[in-house]
């Protein structure tokens, strides 16, 4: 992916006691989430992409623009990379007002350059709801407000890539919920590549298009979110909250029955009535422990969603004495965590047809 669209990051960096050997590529635009435990090298990766850390060797290319190439002796300084960075802490300039902070990067970017993302000041202010804060000093803002300003400041520097390094980790639950909708809106409104670093799976479910799983300085797997989420061979599937994550379109509402039909490829899912207008895209998470498998169509059952699927993979989850079954539902992949006994009784094998039953109430819907 050297030429054309895409983000390719490959580097090696050694510090005493820790070695990062990263190799990953993802398409742009879109949101690539880096997911992994603390200390797995996520922030190292962010610093390398932003130019704040020079790795021992490697190559970083964004949409055909070489940011770093140790073989060719290229290492652009941060100010020439046009990589907007949102840190764990907002890092607002205390001696400037909110407006001054927002203008800081915008001035230095000199308005939208060729190929850049020309986001106007008023647009960003409106997008992040900063109208009433402009004249204030950072120290008078709440944690959530500060982080919103930091995001706005990065956006206004006309970046070609926005790197967010656990932007919500310093905030408590309610503050996170305050910011997440803004991030989702931002993602929708701007066609800006985003590298989103997190150790919170809920943030991944809401924001990611592609997902890279990291552990101990390496990328374990990278791919489209819906594919990675149902891979039984990855540690993600062994988590308690494992499950399918994918996007779906609001198809129609049935006000009388208090239900909304969602379409993901050929699959149709019924969920409790949503406020979103038909045609809107939403994101779903279907926990693996909530998915029931059946070989015969059940009758007289409260479950709304009975999907005809084909078994993709079957993997073991020994600590839980469970088996993970990934199934294709014609456009959406689901993951089911069932007992090994159930797999044996139903005679489930890869390639076989099976019905996946999903309670409407078990499907988590996020607006995107």
């Amino acid at each position: 992916m050297t030429a054309g669209a895409g983000l390719a990051i490959a580097f090696r960096h050694e510090v005493p006691g820790f070695t990062a050997a990263i190799d990953l590529a993802a398409p742009t635009p879109g949101t690539l989430a880096l997911f992994g435990p603390s200390g797995c090298g996520k922030s190292t990766l962010a610093a390398v992409v932003a130019g704040l850390l020079r790795p021992d060797s490697g190559r970083v290319v964004l949409d055909g623009m070489v940011l770093f190439d140790s073989a060719a002796g290229v290492c652009l300084p941060p100010e020439r990379r046009r990589v907007g960075m949102v840190f764990q802490t907002p890092n607002l300039f205390p001696h400037l007002t909110v407006a001054g902070n927002l203008r800081y990067g915008q001035r230095r970017a000199g308005g939208g350059g060729p190929g850049g993302n020309d986001t106007g000041f008023d647009d960003v202010v409106a997008l992040l709801g900063l109208e009433s804060l402009l004249a204030r000093r950072p120290r008078t803002l709440s944690g959530g407000e500060r982080q919103r300003v930091a995001i706005g400041r990065a956006l206004l520097s006309q970046p070609r890539l926005l790197v967010m390094d656990e932007p919500l980790s310093s905030l408590d639950g309610p503050r996170k919920d305050e910011i997440l909708p803004y991030l989702a809106r931002l993602k929708q409104a701007l066609r800006l590549p985003i590298l989103y670093i997190t150790h919170d799976l809920a943030e991944v479910a809401r924001l990611a298009d592609w997902l890279a799983l990291m552990e101990a300085g390496r990328v374990r797997a990278v791919g489209p979110l819906d594919e990675i989420a149902v891979r039984g061979d990855l540690p993600l599937a062994l988590r308690d909250d494992a499950g399918a994550m994918f996007a779906a379109r609001v198809q129609e509402h049935d006000a009388a029955r208090q239900l909304t039909t969602l379409a993901a490829g050929a699959a149709r899912l019924l969920v409790p009535l949503l406020a979103a207008a038909p045609g809107t895209m939403v994101r779903l998470r279907v926990p693996a422990r909530e998915v029931i498998l059946a070989t015969d169509a059940p009758r007289g059952i409260s479950v709304h969603n009975v999907l005809a699927t084909t078994i993709r993979t079957i993997t073991e989850d020994p600590p839980r004495r469970a088996t993970l079954v990934a199934v294709d539902a014609g456009g959406a992949a689901l993951l089911a965590r069932v007992t090994p006994d159930a797999v044996a009784r139903l005679g489930l094998v890869p390639g076989a047809a099976v019905l996946a039953l999903v309670k409407s109430m078990a499907i988590e819907v996020f607006s995107s």
Binding site: P77, V83, F87, P94, G105
Partner: protein, 201 residues
């Protein structure tokens, strides 16, 4: 200020040497500093001879020389204070500035310097007050010429040498105390005021 920045952020060969050189006046007797200055900058010293030949500038035993001696003596204090001011600036802010398109110089001028300013200002005022009290280096390098190279302690010392000079000495001592208090107060006030203006507290 530049030296402080170099010492606070720089990683270069000779950093230790520069650090040692800057802090020399702290550990050497002031008289030795004065004498070294005399050797270096006196009419026949290597630098002094050149200065005189090139600019007709004479430093030893002049008011300018007295100022220079004071400056050298308070230099380590100033560098230390500036360094503290710089160290108090969050590196994350500088990193943020760089990712927002600021070159290193731009970042220093628009972020580091304004945020370090309160510390630097306090250092400057405290340094000025401390300079008023310089004795050993001044008397060695610039002598004690009334009205020209006489600092406050030198004047007090002279007064004490004259029979019946105690009254004058006491007055001068009071002036010294008043100046010191005023200077400390001013630096504290100015630092706080500037900090507030900058939204730091």
């Amino acid at each position: 200020m530049l030296v402080a920045f170099a010492l606070a952020r720089g990683r270069f060969v000779g950093r230790f040497l520069l650090d040692a050189l800057v802090n020399l006046p702290l550990v050497l007797p002031p008289v030795v500093i004065g004498w070294l200055l005399l050797l270096l900058l006196g009419r026949h010293g290597p630098l002094g001879a050149w200065l005189y030949a090139a600019f007709g500038l004479r430093l030893a035993f002049t008011t300018a020389g007295a100022s220079l001696a004071c400056g050298v003596m308070i230099f380590p204090q100033m560098v230390r204070a500036c360094r503290q001011g710089l160290d108090a600036v969050d590196r994350g802010l500088e990193q943020a500035a760089r990712t927002l398109g600021a070159t290193p110089l731009d970042c220093f001028l628009s972020v580091t310097l304004p945020l370090a300013a309160p510390g630097v200002l306090v250092a400057a005022i405290a340094g000025y007050v401390a300079a008023l009290g310089e004795f050993g280096a001044v008397i060695t390098f610039a002598a004690n010429i009334p009205g020209e190279t006489e600092t406050l302690p030198l004047a007090i010392f002279s007064a004490l040498q004259i029979p019946g000079g105690e009254t004058l000495a006491a007055r001068l001592a009071m002036v010294s105390v008043a100046l010191a208090l005023a200077g400390l107060g001013l630096s504290e006030w100015a630092g706080r005021r500037l900090g507030q203006r900058l939204g730091l507290r």
